[in-house]
Symmetry: C2
Subunit: 163 residues, 2 copies
DNA sequence: TATTGTTATACTCTATAACTATA
DNA sequence: TATAGTTATAGAGTATAACAATA
């Protein structure tokens, strides 16, 4: 199947005047996976802020909470590597989450340099509430695709990445 | 560029609380399209900077050049809407591209507020050189997928978005 | 000496308000 | 008055360097 045609076809050779947004030739960018991925990611992030604003969750904090929930004791360095955040930038977020009472830092007994991250009950409650919004949010974002296509998209993204 | 495994890869077994990066449970995030899209986009952008650094192109300037090339006379407002950039941020980039001699601004005859953007020969040459790198770059980024899967991914992304 | 976490800081990207010149 | 473009500026997000504590 070929990429969906534009809302307006390429306007013939050239009018010397300006183009309106609807009649632009965007085919080159539509065939550019990096550009389309950026637009898709923007759509998801904008939708996320709308959907999760009431809980105060951002895409970054949602991911942080989810990883700590599923991996209690995970150290900041692993978390940073996984989420593709630089450690100093993650530390700033962790400081806020800890001072707000959502997470707790324990020093490892076996290596006192290491930190073990845990959710507090307050943090666990927050991510549980967030998780309840996740399915309808994803469904809304992926609405133009059938359920089979949604699964295919997710599978292809996973295969593209070194997980 | 991939998150490097922590060097603590000693054969010593881990304590119950400590998680190494390799043994983390990431299934929740792997099932989260927004997170996977972010990782995929990061991969494409990092690869882009490596591949196009010699030309001085960034993902943003590449897209700007491509749209002006295919739509000479396009106004900044349409370009911004299309690329999901705020107009003031686009203007800054356009100022640099113009003072470097890659693009030209013409005032519209019919509406003297409006600006028509064009590539200079220097700009046309640059995007032509960039376009030659595009196919091998995309192939490299999408290497884990078959060609049919690459087409499917692109089609699904296009269908997800309001083009 | 090397590693984990942390602080400080700079740079890029993005967002908002206000100004200009035309309409 | 409204619109296209522009400027100035503030805020996120992201990057590197250096330090403290521990190994």
């Amino acid at each position: 199947m070929s990429p969906k045609p534009l809302s307006g076809a390429k306007s013939a050779p050239q009018k010397s005047a300006q183009q309106t947004e609807k009649s632009l030739d965007l085919r080159a960018l539509q065939r550019t996976p990096g550009f389309m991925l950026r637009l898709a990611q923007l759509k998801f992030f904008e939708g996320f802020y709308e959907e999760f604003a009431a809980l105060g969750l951002t895409p970054a904090t949602y991911a942080i909470f989810a990883v700590i929930r599923d991996n209690p004791g995970v150290p900041p360095s692993s978390l940073a590597g996984l989420l593709r955040l630089r450690l100093p930038n993650l530390i700033k977020i962790l400081n806020e989450l800890e001072s707000s009472g959502f997470i707790k830092r324990n020093r490892s007994k076996s290596d006192r340099r290491a930190v073990e991250l845990m959710l507090t009950p307050k943090g666990a409650k927050l991510i549980a509430e967030g998780a309840r919004l996740t399915e309808p949010y994803n469904r809304k974002m992926l609405a133009p695709l059938s359920e089979a296509e949604q699964r295919t998209l997710l599978e292809l993204l996973n295969r593209m990445l070194p997980f």
